[in-house]
């Protein structure tokens, strides 16, 4: 407490600039929200509903990827830069698996795709999980007691390796993903909510609910939460830390694999370096919601999807990313634990 008192006294050096910058940023954001609101009002409710649909579907995918970041960060405090690329790899693996399970564009929209698609999902998720566990074993576990930035660099390295594998596999070009889902939709209030949108939202929601139940109810889930809180104490309680961490990586990758498959089915295109930007945004989403917090990651993903869609739909889309990162900075400055809070920040 003495420390924080002293800090409060000396914080005064940077405080005036800090306050001024904060004030300016708040004013800018308020102004932006005002403009956005007038535009939303001017363009009518059906367009707004349409944009919201796109935003939620988009956000659901971000949320799935964000979960992997948040779980890994929660347990070993590593920003796993390779996670975004694992998401892309999930898409690549599933596009490879589709013909094996007899799925092609000719069967698009028929009920016959449901079972094979489910199989593709499961196999992709398992392969991704296995790959991530291997990566953890090879690149992160040996460095668990190394300086903190060493695993960060191997994570960047693994990200390059995964991108390299995909580059080698499909080249630098966009990879087409067959359009299997029905393209029709339901019209509500002038907005079309496509079967695709519903599919993305429902699948993502199911996966997240299963995950939440797993973490809160199962023994392994409890072990994960315990490890996240205090590794040494958990180990003393007879829990195998290595196994718990590997399981975390496995689950994160399973969600990323599902996310990649959903992304492919929704957008019908993939590219080898997709995971770089997607990962960056998913990570931002995780921080938004409060890193280490599973519900927070879901909320953060949803928000990022919504902000992107709203800004793209109503304002100049070149500024979308600037807005997202500006809001991220603001959230962190005023609520350093993210929207839903996180574990006590102590290094």
């Amino acid at each position: 407490m003495v420390g924080s008192l002293k800090q409060a006294r000396i914080a005064f050096v940077g405080a005036p600039i800090g306050r001024l910058v904060n004030l300016l940023v708040i004013l800018a954001v308020l102004y932006a929200i005002f403009i956005l609101a007038t535009k939303i009002f001017a363009q009518g409710p059906s367009y707004f509903l349409q944009i919201l649909t796109f935003g939620v579907a988009n956000g659901a995918i971000y949320a799935l990827v964000a979960l992997g970041y948040t779980m890994v960060y929660g347990i070993i405090e590593l920003i796993n830069f390779a996670h975004g690329d694992l998401f892309t790899l999930g898409g690549f693996i599933s596009v490879f698996l589709l013909p094996i399970f007899g799925l092609d564009a000719s069967k698009a929209g028929t009920p016959g795709i449901i079972l094979p698609l489910l199989a593709v999902f499961i196999v992709t998720m398992l392969i991704c999980g296995a790959i991530n566990v291997t990566i953890e074993r090879v690149a992160y576990r040996p460095l668990r007691h190394a300086p903190r930035l060493a695993p960060l660099i191997t994570a960047v390295g693994m990200s390059f390796v995964l991108e390299g594998v995909m580059f080698l596999w499909k080249g630098p070009f966009n990879v087409p993903y067959p359009n299997l889902l029905p393209t029709n939709g339901i019209v509500i209030g002038g907005a079309t909510i496509g079967v695709k949108d519903i599919f993305v939202i429902v699948v993502a929601a199911i996966l997240m609910i299963v995950l939440a139940l797993f973490v809160s109810r199962s023994t392994l889930g409890k072990a994960m939460r315990a490890t996240a809180q205090d590794q040494d104490a958990t180990e003393l309680m007879g829990i195998d830390i290595n196994r718990t961490i590997a399981a975390t990586f496995f689950i994160g990758a399973v969600l990323a694999g599902a996310g990649g498959t959903i992304f492919g089915l929704y957008y019908n295109t993939l590219v080898f370096d997709l995971g770089f930007s997607a990962g960056l945004f998913a990570f931002t989403a995780a921080v938004f919601g409060g890193i280490g917090n599973i519900q927070g990651a879901a909320l953060g993903g949803l928000l990022i999807g919504l902000i992107t869609a709203l800004w793209d739909g109503y304002m100049e889309s070149t500024w979308t990313q600037v807005i997202i990162f500006a809001i991220l900075i603001l959230v962190l400055v005023f609520r350093p634990t993210g929207l839903l809070g996180m574990r006590v920040p102590e290094k």
Binding site: F54, N268, L280, L310, D312, G313, T320
Partner: protein, 421 residues
């Protein structure tokens, strides 16, 4: 502790060995065989790794093919050597500048083909200019690289004169400038398709934004309206549906995309399905098989402009195209700049031939090669007949318009016409 230092030493030594291996290798391209008078290297600079590779690799293929099929010129052996200007996954002017310095330092290199991006060109031209080193680009279309307009300094911070400290032009290109391509598409929309309301997006890159801006200006001039204009950061954008829905609500009858296949040009086309049923127009960055793949089940009704004549329209070119397809069999080996780049290489080789003659059969100087390229008259390439004007632009460049048709869908030639002139 000591052992740790040995590891560090070993790693550094490993890098050092790589270093010596590399510098050794770079110097060892010599030889050329006893039967020839020597070796002449044709260099290229393209972004051949990272996201830009989908534009750069096909162009490099075209150059490599031209050099390989020529084989030799007037007793000199011809060799191809390609440089990559990608750093950290994107084209990099600093790397481009380094590449051209390296090319200049090799006396066997008499000229180069490239670069792909206008910003890289701005960094390279002054360096090459001081050495009278010839550059021919297939893909740079920014008009301010060669022509002096009032807005050039405000838009790009430079003028052709500032880029050429020697005062003598060393930079040539076969692509028609942005000033022609955007308006050509706009004229096509208004005059041929008879549409007036257009939504326009660009990838916010030099080429894409430039061509979209020129398109917008021409549409407005012709009495049409641009109902919606957006720029996207295509590295982070996956979803164009908000833009497309907005365009539909604002009554757009066509969509124009200023981008390249490296910046997802035809991805929005696939997303238009079920939202907006309208023609989709692309500049030459999109006229390729990749675009048709990306547009998926919505690839019909696509239109594209290409700032060079269609190689397939030229009966003499057919044999060349067949030979190229045999050498590079994959469909994605061919891009919209493959044949223009091949023509650039052939123009350079032809000029080197004349320069050798001018120098009495001996290795010509770079200035002689530059002068020979500048004097190129009616060179018949696969994509057209080229003569350079004083700026280094092709005189009366050709603009071709393509459309997707047939089953399976492919780009079909619609018409071509001279522009400017």
């Amino acid at each position: 502790m000591q052992r740790r230092w040995y590891t560090a030493g070993a790693i550094i030594a490993g890098f050092a060995m790589l270093a010596t291996a590399c510098t050794g290798g770079a110097g060892s391209t010599a030889g050329g065989g006893g039967t020839t008078k020597g070796e002449i290297i044709i260099a290229s600079d393209q972004p051949t790794s990272g996201g830009d590779a989908s534009d750069g690799l096909p162009a490099q293929n075209g150059i490599q093919f031209a050099v390989e099929s020529a084989g030799s010129i007037k007793g000199f052996k011809l060799t191809f050597k390609g440089w990559d200007d990608t750093v950290n996954g994107t084209h990099d002017p600093q790397k481009g500048a380094q590449n051209i310095q390296e090319m200049i330092s090799d006396a066997k290199i008499l000229g180069m083909i490239g670069p792909n991006n206008s910003n890289v060109a701005r960094a390279m031209i002054p360096i090459a200019n001081r050495a009278s080193f010839t550059m021919i680009s297939a893909a740079n279309t920014n008009e301010c690289l060669t022509q002096t307009f009032a807005y050039c300094e405000a838009d790009t911070g430079t003028t052709p004169a500032k880029l050429r400290p020697n005062g003598v032009n060393n930079y040539f290109r076969v692509a028609a400038a942005d000033t022609f391509q955007g308006p050509a598409a706009a004229d096509f929309v208004v005059d041929t398709l008879k549409l007036t309301k257009v939504a326009v997006w660009s990838d916010n890159e030099t080429f894409g934004k430039g061509v979209a801006d020129k398109f917008t200006a021409e549409i407005t001039k012709k009495g049409g309206t641009v109902v919606l204009r957006q720029d996207f950061d295509t590295k982070t954008t996956n979803d164009w549906k908000p833009f497309l829905t907005d365009a539909k609500n604002k009554g757009a009858q066509a969509v124009y995309a200023g981008a390249t296949s490296g910046t997802k040009i035809c991805i929005p086309r696939a997303q238009m399905k079920g939202i907006l049923d309208a023609p989709y127009l692309v500049p030459d960055g999109g006229v390729n098989s990749q675009c048709i793949k990306d547009a998926a089940d919505n690839a019909a009704n696509l239109y594209g402009t290409v700032a060079a004549a269609d190689a397939n329209q030229n009966p003499d070119a057919k044999a060349t195209i067949d030979a190229f397809t045999k050498r590079f069999p994959k469909k994605e080996d061919v891009g919209s700049y493959t044949f223009p780049a091949m023509d650039c290489a052939n123009i350079l080789i032809d000029a080197i031939g004349r320069a050798i003659d001018a120098n009495g059969g001996n290795m010509p100087s770079r200035e002689q090669v530059r002068a020979a390229v500048a004097a190129t008259k009616s060179f018949k390439g696969t994509t057209g007949t080229y003569t350079f004007d004083a700026n280094g632009d092709p005189t009366s460049p050709t603009m071709a318009i393509f459309q997707t048709k047939g089953s399976p869908l492919d780009w079909v030639f619609v018409k071509q016409f001279g522009v400017g002139g």
